[in-house]
Subunit: 213 residues, 2 copies
């Protein structure tokens, strides 16, 4: 970052791999365009169009690298939103708000993360290894906390029930994010209100009787 003066392009550029990822990220977050080409990235980096292939065997590999950064940012954002909240139900709602805010502020990146980055077009189901696992882990942890503190109905040692609750929460939030991004939701209603309503309904399904004060 601070090695060379801005215009001193090394013959071999020095750090092309990172430059390509950052370039892709800036296109996707600033121009909201996830349909960039490897050749354009190469152009911006000032290298030949074939250069990227010495760092990424396929375009998908570059997309995966970009998606990874996206997932890290999403996780950080959720964790930050959650950090000051003790009650698991409040924290879960806050995490959902952060999740939807991330998606609506960076729809192109969000689409890239869950979109064709790994689904190669011909594959029936994505061979998604651990992509997105960080996101799930955050929700999983909150659900477990809620179970342990008695705020949620599943018993802390009932793995199946905890799994269903986590999956249910993630599905709801993920689905809502997609519907909002795809303009399937009345745009008159502010996002945070939608999230509040939907999360309240979700929490009603797993919260123990005592109505939250």
């Amino acid at each position: 970052m601070k090695k060379d003066s801005p215009d001193t392009r090394a013959y071999h550029h020095g750090d092309l791999r990172r430059a390509l990822i950052e370039s892709a990220l800036s296109i996707v977050t600033q121009e909201q365009d996830w349909s960039f080409s490897l050749r354009e990235l190469a152009r911006r980096a000032g290298v030949s169009h074939a250069a990227p292939h010495s760092h990424f065997a396929e375009k998908r590999d570059l997309l995966i690298a970009v998606a990874d950064v996206g997932f890290a940012r999403l996780r950080d954002r959720m964790l930050e939103a959650v950090s000051r909240l003790k009650r698991a139900d409040k924290a879960l709602t806050a995490a959902a708000q952060a999740y939807i805010a991330f998606a609506t502020e960076n729809p192109a990146l969000y689409r890239l993360m869950f979109g064709p980055a790994l689904a190669d077009g011909a594959a029936t189901r994505t061979a998604a290894s651990g992509i997105g696992a960080e996101t799930k882990a955050v929700l999983e942890d909150l659900v477990l906390r809620g179970a342990q503190s008695g705020v949620f109905t599943p018993k802390p040692d009932d793995a199946a029930a905890l799994g269903v609750a986590t999956l249910s929460c993630w599905s709801t939030v993920h689905g809502l994010a997609n519907l909002i991004i795809d303009s399937k939701v009345d745009p008159a209603l502010p996002d945070h209100q939608l999230v509040d309503g939907v999360m309240q309904l979700f929490l009603d399904g797993i919260r123990t009787r005592r109505p939250a004060s």
Copy 2:
């Protein structure tokens, strides 16, 4: 369909528009590949590569036409699953099962329907007019029925509460479909079981006290 014998290709093909859509549908449903090109469709139809553009100004217009068929099929499948069930909660679960079955059996078509068909890459939010409205309508109707029959908590005239419930249901089902397709869910668990668990949780949030017999 029955006008010409199979190989009598008219000079102007007769019905290229439909042929292109059907060709695209068969590629997408049989080969599970939604990354086809207009030129390939033209090849299969035995016309020049420029011919499609006399029926579809942009490739996206063809994709929209394909997506429309997909949404009609999804709606039909949901309606059929629901047709014999009277209780709104049972019907909603059946609709969800049909929804997820459709998505997992036709992941490529499902991705095309909700994917970049309308999201043109540069647009922040899709200018999705009524695409997918049929799907929402089915769920909306079931939620309303449940409210009217007293199975669900929202009052039948509380539009806001009904809207939240519908959105919540669609989000959950849509999100679950995406997570399954994208292999973000433990593949050891059968889909119908996942749907059952998730829907049960959802219903717990809006069902009136009386535990379903």
